[in-house]
């Protein structure tokens, strides 16, 4: 824990961290509890999220901006996903087995303005374990190594998850678009 904290460089960073904690801890707990449906596990997720935040506080610029709120929500959701993954390893296994059917990744073909509404409903239905990868990558412009550091996995595994997430989304959009054609 001490090593993680060593990344809070200055008293200003430490103050910022304390401010984030005081201002958002209940919000983060609520987001985690929605996912985990367990008050204590949700607290664990919040704690894990704050530990990860000590290493990635640079993403927080304006403490009270909607972006910061979203960023914290993404971190705590990814931590909640981790906890669920540990609790139900069979789900983890199924995740790795599905979606790897050799189908080509043609997601970009579906990412067009005409499919906007379909895309929104697909993203809302997409599992959080995949969605957070997209959020880290696109919304916060984080690299595989950074995402891996937050999630506690290697950069290579982040890349694997990312491509599975793309394929999963592509399948969902295919189905969604096909339903309306």
């Amino acid at each position: 824990m001490f090593l993680f904290l060593a990344l809070l460089d200055s008293p200003e960073e430490q103050e910022k961290f304390a401010e984030v904690y005081n201002h958002y801890r209940h919000f983060m707990w609520y987001v985690a509890n929605q996912k985990l449906q367990d008050e204590h596990l949700a607290e664990d997720a919040v704690q894990e999220a704050f530990l990860a935040l000590t290493r990635h506080l640079d993403q927080v610029e304006d403490l009270y901006s909607p972006r910061t709120k979203k960023y914290l929500a993404t971190i705590v959701r990814s931590k909640a996903v981790d906890i669920l993954r540990k609790l139900k390893p069979e789900e983890e296994l199924s995740e790795y087995l599905t979606g790897d059917d050799g189908q080509a990744d043609i997601l970009e073909q579906y990412l067009i303005q005409e499919n906007y509404n379909h895309l929104v409903s697909c993203i809302l239905e997409l599992e959080d374990s995949y969605r957070v990868i997209f959020e880290y990558k696109y919304m916060y412009q984080m690299g595989d190594a950074e995402i891996g550091d937050i999630l506690g996995i290697s950069a290579k595994n982040v890349n694997v998850r990312y491509f599975r997430a793309r394929k999963k989304l592509q399948k969902m959009i295919q189905k969604e678009v096909g339903r309306f054609e």
């Binding site: 824990m1 460089d9 707990w29 990412l111």
Partner: protein
């Protein structure tokens, strides 16, 4: 970022916003959920550790390896100087010492006393200076005002003579006092009636009023307090162990001083009232 990626980012933002739109405001969640004790403790530790680490880093920042090299150079210079002094300059020093001793021996006894006098005078001056310093320090402890002896302790006037008992969003109250000579404990209740969390220091000053002036009673443990958070709409009971203070439980007016954020609050009480309430409680039972 290409167009497809921009579109995906926009969609992800919109979806997350939609999800978060169902989350109630922070204050509302705070009212319905209270974090468990282990969580609060571990987060408190995390915050304390982070502050310690950042302080250490601040020190390290000012002590760069370059300063270390400078210190090493100065040390080498001093060692060389010392070696030179004790080898080359040795004879000169011995000669000087000898001539001084001879000179002293040739002086009459009264003159020898005079020769020793500057050293004695210097010692005297040093003693006087140290006495003055300790007197000044003792005056500093009382902010330049005179202390009083109370229950075997010297107590000094409090920095703030007047302070409020409550603020717009905070109230303090000495309540449910339990007075047992062997286990004297007071309960202080701090209530956050506002809509925002407050920070308070869990170390309280006990003051006694002597001749219309408040004097701070020093605590014997001397432990440092910690800043804690009190959520909006919540109250906390803090136990004050009076065995840490030398007091006489007489009819004097006492005051318990609490630090809340930048403000200082003082709640007054007398042990006479406490006795009365305890006895009333006992007779009612």
């Amino acid at each position: 970022m290409n167009k497809q990626e921009e579109l995906l980012t926009q969609i992800l933002e919109e979806c997350l916003e939609e999800d978060l739109s169902f989350v109630p405001p922070e204050g509302e969640i705070a009212r319905t959920h209270r974090f468990s004790q282990p969580f609060e403790q571990s987060m408190e530790k995390l915050l304390e550790d982070s502050s310690r680490v950042s302080r250490r880093k601040e020190i390290q920042k000012h002590f760069s390896p370059r300063y270390g090299q400078w210190a090493a150079c100065i040390l080498v210079f001093c060692v060389c100087g010392w070696l030179f002094y004790h080898s080359g300059g040795l004879h000169v020093e011995k000669g000087a010492d000898m001539s001084a001793a001879e000179e002293e021996a040739s002086l009459p006894a009264s003159d020898r006393d005079l020769a020793a006098a500057p050293e004695t005078a210097e010692e005297q001056l040093a003693e006087e200076a140290s006495e003055e310093l300790s007197a000044a320090e003792s005056q500093d402890a009382g902010n330049g005002r005179e202390g009083k002896v109370y229950c075997g302790n010297t107590v000094y006037p409090a920095e703030m003579q007047k302070m409020p008992e409550r603020l717009e969003n905070v109230t303090t109250l000495v309540n449910c006092p339990v007075l047992d000579e062997e286990n004297p404990v007071l309960m202080l209740t701090i209530g956050n009636t506002g809509e925002e969390d407050i920070r308070y220091l869990n170390q309280y000053d006990l003051e006694v009023q002597l001749q219309d002036t408040w004097y701070r009673i020093p605590a014997e443990s001397g432990e440092e307090g910690r800043w804690l958070t009190l959520e909006a709409g919540m109250a906390v009971d803090e136990e004050i162990d009076l065995s840490e203070y030398r007091i006489d439980y007489d009819a004097s007016q006492y005051r318990l001083v609490t630090h809340v954020g930048q403000e200082t609050l003082g709640v007054e009480f007398t042990f006479g009232e406490v006795f009365k309430k305890t006895k009333e409680g006992e007779s009612a039972e």
